[in-house]
Symmetry: C2
Subunit: 337 residues, 2 copies
């Protein structure tokens, strides 16, 4: 798909999925490029983000946000450049990260902008991942809910993913031992070589319980959970006294209505004096700036590596959410347009 | 059973139960009354406590404490009087609460004493309940883990029980709305009349989900959980954003090995940004004195009511643990000897 100067190419939600959205639930569409009114500005999106939260946005079940309406442009986090402005705070040339959706051009009024990209010699795409919502999610989930102390053992599921890899690295910065759970030997390797995990386990081929006992002889102090399901059940079987478990995502379970069953957690929490806490990064929105400042500093110090999996062209958007769940993508999944 | 001056009547654990201990798992026994050595003292027990924790103490499964060995005196919290002492800190006439077991006479060296009973015009038995471990458990579970704020809605399971009734009353002292869950219309009535609950629900006869929605129109901010099981699942279906759930006990489930299954909690915790945390009151042991001071003050101000269910004589001990689970006892269960 080529960039058009007159047409705004878009991806709309055409039917409501149950579970993980597939390509068939979306349609490519066209609209005129909108004109900013007073108090608005026009953004040319450069990168579109693909995130697990989009599953929730497409489903009708209760969640953080209103579902995307059928026929609407798919909600998505975007990074782009202001190319026309009638807003006093946004100037042509400003780079912005916001929620402008799966489309080439979006109109903003400021409310949908998450942040202006700071002037740094860093690729714009990093602000959709390690220096954007993924890094910020990792930051608050680990530091505020997980409360890691130096010397403790932090276990991360989807350890090589966009959030997980940031969690593992921030935990190392805080002096923890890190153990990553991931789904291939290749990912095990780069968990250790690129993201600094002390240990990494391929949960698909290992005896996970035995491997966790070997990797965490004193138990798991902090568990950053991106998966739920049997991986999580096995980690819960290995918690240390006083463990803190952070629920950030539930990637291993595709349908939550009705609630799936699993081992009850109450006795484990009681015996281990442990806690499980759900994370919603927007609850920390007023502190994002401070978090991003730390992340940018660590990034410049070379302490935060990241991987990207960039699809070229808007036509790849419809099938991209599924890609988050099939274990194939290696790093932050983005669409460049 | 009469008090003997030469014989120490005891209850020993004679076989290992699976699940809730029954009378058949214990035997009455006799031993000589022990003599205190240097650094020791002899206590004549007056009241023996019957607590849900005793289930864990009798079972072989992993728990907080070492299991009681077969043939040993059953571990129990006791209140009694020092009647002979070769210990500088304990004098004849001191009243003490400790873990001296299901027996008439116990030897202490200080390590098994939880506290000396303060000089107050209060029945000794209250220091095994509302002013002892039950009140202290309620205090830390509610205030430290539950973090209730004035105006919030606090839901308590086993609301009329020794811990639950204290939780409800402390929550009222802190300005919360309180909703009690209990198992009979009689208990519903005295939850409201004696323990000040704003609402009380008989979970055995009500449609609990509908009743909770009616009693908690803005959702449940704090859930103090003494039951686990389907009551807990239904409360989790009614959590408010940011809810704090405290796991104090699991009375509705008798066997935890293997772990029973229930609805998975991860998605609920994520969507509600809620947490579940297990409570072990001994983690706060260094702060018990301060808690007891608050409890005694509230008690003297008439803000803490309590009920006792006192069985007369050591021969009632073996069958007493079961009584905690059959819904019959109304208030703190004790054996007076």
């Amino acid at each position: 798909m080529s960039i058009s100067d007159t047409v705004n190419h878009q991806v709309i939600l055409s039917s409501r999925p149950v579970g993980i959205p597939q390509a068939e639930h979306f349609e490519l569409s066209e609209a005129p490029i909108p004109e900013p009114k007073d108090g608005e500005f026009l953004v040319r999106n450069k990168f579109l983000s693909v995130d697990p939260a989009m599953r929730g946005w497409t489903n009708a079940a209760k969640n953080y946000s209103e579902p995307v309406a059928i026929g609407d442009v798919m909600r998505a986090i975007t990074a782009g450049e202001v190319i026309a402005s009638k807003h006093p705070d946004y100037a042509e040339g400003d780079l912005v990260v916001g929620t402008l959706g799966w489309q080439e051009y979006g109109i903003g009024n400021g409310s949908e902008i998450r942040f202006k990209v700071p002037k740094m010699d860093v690729p714009l795409s990093a602000f959709l991942g390690i220096l954007g919502s993924n890094g910020i999610t990792a930051y608050f989930g680990l530091l505020t809910h997980g409360e890691p102390k130096a010397g403790e053992t932090v276990v991360v599921s989807t350890a090589a993913g966009a959030v997980g890899s940031a969690v593992g690295q921030i935990a190392k910065i805080k002096g923890c031992r890190t153990v990553g759970l991931t789904g291939s030997d290749d990912k095990v390797e780069f968990c250790k070589s690129e993201f600094g995990y002390d240990e990494a386990i391929n949960y698909k081929t290992a005896d996970l319980d035995a491997a966790l006992k070997a990797a965490c002889p004193d138990g798991v102090d902090v568990y950053f959970d991106n998966t739920s399901g049997s991986i999580t059940d096995t980690v819960y079987n290995n918690l240390a006294i006083g463990a803190r478990c952070v629920v950030c995502g539930t990637a291993s379970i595709s349908v939550w209505d009705p609630l799936p069953t699993g081992p009850r957690v109450e006795r484990t929490l009681l015996v281990k004096r442990a806690r499980i806490q759900g994370l919603y990064v927007f609850d920390f929105e007023d502190q994002w700036g401070a978090a991003q400042k730390d992340l940018c500093q660590w990034f410049e110090e070379g302490k935060l590596n990241y991987r990207e999996d960039i699809l070229d062209g808007l036509e790849h958007a419809p099938g991209s959410i599924q890609r988050l769940y099939d274990g194939e993508n290696q790093g932050k999944l983005l669409i460049e347009i």
